[in-house]
Amino acid sequence: MSAAATIPGIGRPRRSGKALPGALWALLLLTPAFVSLASVSFYPIVNGLYLSLTNTSLITQEQDFTGFSNYVELWGDPQFWNAWWHTMWFTAASTVLETVIGLGMALILCEAFKGRGLVRAAMLVPWAMPTVVTSKMFGWLFDGQNGIVNYILLHAGLIDQNINWYGSTDTAMITIIIADVWKTTPFMALLLLTGLQTVPNSLIEAARMDGAKGWITFWYIRLPLLMPTLLIAGLFRALDAFRVFDLVYVLTGGGPADSTETLSTLSYKVLFSTLQFGYGSAVSTAMFVTEGIIALVFCLYLIRQIRRAQ
């Protein structure tokens, strides 16, 4: 195919005879995107870093440089650590659950069965739905009095009295994790499915010929080949879960008794309820740093895995 033949030439300098001011065009075409990302993403990060070193407050109208005093305060702030641990716990639990359940779903979808298109279509519903709507929907599903979940569990004999899901400090975080798993697992499954479909069928057939059972072909052939996809999808999911805001803010607002407060909701409250932009920026910068560390650890692990596989 002609298309395939040209692909290896992608990175090569072009040998076009006609002189085009290529560099100039490139600059011109990339400028709008750069301006957009620089002003809405890079500038705020740098500005936030600066604000975090000041006592900026929209109430007192102060803006003096105070060095690291916000970070010193942050280090001794139990509310911050409370939110930090909740965020880490939420990120770990939801990423692991979503990856494992997503893999299970993908393995089922990999098989041929009637109505597969319908199931795949249904799986896009949670992904397309606005997160705020998901939050409200789970508010209704898990309502302490009239929620359908309590009704089903009660009638199935699994519980003997209604659970006040997101109204109680014991179960509020679990409810949020369930909502997040509901919303993102199906999409994870579809990503993993495309990864699974690249595993050559001939490999699996050959293993079957040699008498390998289903789970052996899974464990020794499909899983190792799927590993890079699994890890990258997991990384993106973890970084996304780490930023969780909508779900928590709408379902519990961080309550009851701060039991679901995460770094995003805490930052938002410090910024927009107390209007302490200096301290609020310190919280969000600390969050940015934590996210960076997660990404770094993940990437290092990923690179090692890929090296080992080669």
Binding site: A3, T6, I7, I10, P13, L20, W25, A26, L29, L30, P32, A33, S36, S39, V40, S41, F42, P44, I45, N47, G48, G104, M105, I108, E111, F113, R116, A122, L124, V125, P126, W127, A128, M129, P130, T131, V133, K136, M137, G139, W140, L141, D143, N146, I148, W182, L190, L191, R243, F245, Y249, L263, S264, Y268, L271, F277, G280, S284, F288, E291
Partner: protein
């Protein structure tokens, strides 16, 4: 593979598939059914999936009392503007990265993609200050400018992937015919990329339509608030109006679901190429 499957395995697969279907579709089906039921039926203690008696009361409340259509209008304006801007700016960048000889283009792509991983809460404070200083609070402009940057990384990434699949002979032939660089993009590459433009446009639209954090921070009245902010504020004084919320949810989600179902194959392809492939 079918012929080697044991009957037990077949049963397990169908059970699993049913479970996935109910898990994914069930909650929304219940929400949809809720929107047609009277409050009395919803709190009766014996829920039923079939609305009986059937009522449109919640839809009436959502539109007449809560003015849902005004949020829908705001969301439409913001999301459509975002979509077109994203496609315009994104296709320029993707075209430059794919077709012009740029050093370190994969580095540039990586930087663009990593921007989408920044925690948005770290952006909202400084941007709020900028918007205040420029008098952009409670405007569509502030939301559109922000959403453009939020949608741009994915749009650029996916379009870049698509442009890379278009044969380079076309470029050569066009250049022989004396077509200029913008002509190549506008008259040749873009018309060939229509399917990908539709998918990426839909992704940008969904990003803007569903965004909550910035809309919450930047807007404070119904003239400019978008649907997520509107629905988040759907509360009555003495009780939570679950039926009204369900009606509003159905109104804003059903069109989206139909769009997604219609384009589902493209979306999955587009996103896997953008999200997972290196």
């Amino acid at each position: 593979m079918n012929d080697t499957r044991l009957p037990l395995q077949t049963v397990a697969i169908y059970l699993g598939a049913l479970l996935i279907f109910v898990w994914s579709g069930g909650p929304f089906i219940w929400q949809f059914s809720t929107s047609f039921q009277l409050d009395k039926a919803l709190t009766s203690g014996s829920p039923s999936l079939i609305p009986h008696p059937f009522t449109l009361e919640h839809y009436y409340n959502a539109f007449v009392e809560k003015q849902l259509h005004r949020y829908v209008w705001n969301s439409l304006v913001v999301s459509l503007a975002t979509t077109f801007l994203c496609l315009f700016v994104g296709s320029l960048a993707a075209f430059a990265l794919s077709r012009l000889n740029i050093k370190g283009r994969f580095g540039i792509l990586m930087v663009i993609l990593s921007v989408s991983m920044f925690p948005q809460i770290a952006l909202v404070g400084p941007l709020y200050l900028v918007a205040t200083n420029l008098g952009l609070l409670d405007t569509y402009t502030a939301l559109i400018i922000t959403y453009l940057a939020l949608g741009l990384p994915l749009v650029t990434w996916v379009l870049f992937g698509y442009f890379e699949t278009l044969p380079r002979e076309i470029d050569e032939a066009a250049r022989m015919d004396g077509v200029s660089v913008p002509g190549l993009l506008w008259r040749i590459i873009l018309p060939m990329s229509l399917p990908s433009l539709v998918t990426t446009g839909l992704l940008a639209f969904i990003t803007a339509w569903n965004e909550f954090l910035f809309a919450l921070a930047f807007t404070s009245n119904i003239d400019r608030q978008t649907i997520p902010v509107g629905i988040a504020n759907f509360t009555n004084l003495y009780y939570v109006p679950w039926g009204d919320i369900a009606a509003a949810s159905a109104v804003v989600t059903v069109p989206l679901i139909l769009l997604v179902l219609f384009f589902q194959r493209h979306i999955i392809e587009g996103l896997t190429q953008g999200g997972v492939k290196e």
